[in-house]
Symmetry: C2
Subunit: 438 residues, 2 copies
């Protein structure tokens, strides 16, 4: 575990340019570590952005080849003053490692690294072939890995991808994630008058861009959480009965969830749809931020000429980004109030994806996790998006096994991120068990 | 005019604390100037905020007493790089003085000062009694003058207030402003979840504060400009037929106004109400600014927990701020979507006011202006708010004569503020003519 602690000491924050050297240092750390562990050809794959780390062991002819994915970059640590111990000085408390990246994803990618290293150390060989592909732009939206994978390099040829970057549904409950939402992320730009105008002189004559943005948002999603984009729900695949009934048996208390996790006076979203289905199998429309006009201290009576709203739609099978973008743009055009022009600027998109729980790589992962955790593995979906999973499917034609060992309260992307040492250890055991079973 | 240029060289920006010494210097400049001009008891009235300048001449027993109001503070000059000549180095171009404060209000208050000084110089006396009351917080929302006037000091006793701080409707068109809108200004605070949440994990469950703010704004005002606050329009007094027909005869081209002044693809506001009525005699609801969530570069997928919108309602006779605030709060409570709490925080308010154009002080001002400008004086209303006018009415029981000599394109509150030298000169003549006629 000392090596993991050293890995965590590198502030490899990909979103902050001033940490570029640290990001590279983390890539080199992983490369050198895999080299010392006995992997072959450990190297950095350079490109636009941060390097990928690549290393293989292919000495098991006739056995499956697994693409082991993870990322060595981390989120920014702010707000710094809310950390109990400094984010890049790992501290052990209550059976957890506290550090930025402990769960997302350094601790989890180290499970894969350590499992492979242990088998090589103990047996001199692996029961399967592996190809490590560890990226450094997962937290900053860089596209190096996407471009690389999309180019379908023969060296990535494999039978399945293994990803440790998700969480368990609850402590001691081994969990495999079988579905991810896709995403369309962009900005709605709204323009009214040429410049900000005085509301005394022009109030009642000049269009107000912030009000127009509000009108547009309210037109695209109603107060009960229904997205009012014609056609949007047409391709939404209803989850199967077995999936829904599996969700119903998950240990979950909606009232506790509302109070402890969300902290609002009530939950939101389509009232006629159950909560897990809303979070995992329904599209969303969310406004992530809005700016426009005067927001300083005190009173200024401008009619704002411009407003920008950052928005996203999360997509579920079988929605496709291109079609959703067209529908959004059509609905936006209809929602624009008089005197206003508005446009949508796409920033990124990713297709939703599903992994068949009947797939042999998924089944054997579930069996291995059950054996180590001594509890039946549960299948959940994730409301978030991991674009690389869709790309592995599309470009390489392989399924992704998302076996995560994080916990819901690991504070990823927040102060006091942590990772359970017991889960770290059981994670390694589970991966060893899994690979040996293939 | 040299004295005015020196006055304009003082950067008396009341909104910027670093200019506090300049603000005081401007007050002292006015006090000393009035003293040298022959006014009596010129002094600074100190209080919380910037000093008032007070000076009198009361040597005309049996004649009316006029309270001469203006302000010596100015708006901040930014954006500085858009000024053709520096804002505090007055420059003469094309018959105009270019400087911050040229029209608002140093040039206009100097019309009153210079007119009085000229009469004292030429005749050794004035045809009326005058009391100068010049403030230094008009551009920063300070309340010193309001508190002072509300205390009804006997030294302010007078028959009418004269204010040169408005504009002419068009060049060469002498104009008196007979109505001002009131205002209720405040913030709508919206809260959803306890903190920002990840839209992947919580999208479909957590309420979104920015969307709620949009829902609320859209509920309070529809896309055609109708304010949806029950009861709001009940006390709106319809302008009289003579007033409306006078407005119709004003030289005005709505299409030119849209293109040159507003610059939007269409004008906004209640389509069934005429433009001047919308701008001068109808209440407004405007959102001046909004903030919430992530508005930086790139993509961040938070569900914002909080949002704040700065809003105002402009009020017209006979609306009263207290009643409007109650109606707004009731409508806000109804507009709040599920899972959200919202509240209104009042920042300031002022009642609307009307001046009877039949009042003798208004009529004689109109006659004097007509004589000097050789054109019938027009009566307009102003969509903005000058809170002191309502207070002069309420606390001192006197009407305000708003005879302004600015022009619509004087760029007040903007770069390259200017004031016509011809209007400065005609303004002095008009005030001399006016006072002599009383």
């Amino acid at each position: 575990m000392n090596d993991l602690l050293n890995f965590l000491r590198i502030p490899s924050i990909s979103a902050l340019p001033e940490h570029a050297a640290d990001v590279r240092r983390a890539a080199e750390f992983v490369r050198d570590w895999l080299d010392r562990a006995g992997l072959h050809g450990a190297r950095l794959i350079e490109g636009e952005g941060n390097p990928l780390v690549f290393a293989t062991w292919t000495g098991a002819p006739g056995k499956p080849t697994l693409l082991l994915y993870g990322h060595y970059d981390v989120q920014p640590p702010d707000p710094l003053d809310e950390w109990i111990s400094p984010p890049f000085e790992p501290a052990i408390r209550n059976g957890n490692i506290y550090a930025r990246g402990a769960a997302d994803d350094k601790g989890q990618v180290f499970i894969l690294m350590e499992a492979v290293a242990r088998m090589l150390r103990e047996n001199g060989k692996l029961p399967v072939n592996v190809k490590f592909l560890i990226e450094g732009e997962e937290e900053s939206g860089g596209e190096h890995i996407e471009k690389y994978v999309a180019s379908k390099p023969s060296e990535l040829a494999s039978d399945a991808a293994i990803i440790c970057d998700t969480a368990m549904f609850a402590p001691d409950l081994p969990t495999i994630t079988t579905g991810l939402r896709g995403i369309v992320y962009g900005e709605i730009h709204v323009q009214g008058a040429r410049t900000d105008l005085h509301s005394g002189d022009y109030g009642g004559a000049a269009p107000n861009a912030v009000e127009a943005a509000a009108q547009i948002i309210a037109a695209l999603k109603d107060r009960d959480g229904h997205i009012r984009i014609p056609g949007l729900y047409e391709r939404v695949r209803k989850p199967g009965e077995s999936e829904i009934s599996a969700w119903k048996s998950l240990p979950f208390n909606a009232e506790e969830f509302r109070e402890k996790e969300v902290g609002s006076i009530a939950l939101a979203g389509e009232p006629e749809i159950s909560l897990f289905e809303r979070m995992w199998a329904r599209p969303t429309f969310e406004v992530h931020g809005i700016r426009g006009g005067f927001v300083g201290e005190g009173s200024k009576t401008v009619i704002p000429a411009r407003a920008v709203a950052k928005i996203s739609l999360r997509l579920v099978p079988d929605q496709q980004p291109e079609e959703v973008i067209r529908s959004l743009e059509a609905a936006l055009a209809k929602a624009v109030p008089p005197g206003i022009t508005a446009s949508f600027k796409l920033l990124s998109s990713a297709a939703p994806c599903m992994v068949d729980p009947g797939n042999v790589f998924v089944r054997k992962a579930a069996d291995a996790m059950k054996k180590i955790f001594r509890h039946e593995t549960v299948y959940v979906r994730c409301g978030g998006s991991i674009p690389i999973v869709g790309l592995f499917q599309q470009a390489l034609g392989i399924p992704s096994v998302m076996m995560g060992f994080g916990l819901p309260d690991d504070n990823i992307h927040a102060p006091n991120e942590k990772f359970s040492i017991a889960n770290y250890s059981r994670g390694i055991d589970a991966v060893v068990e899994y690979f040996s079973s293939l």
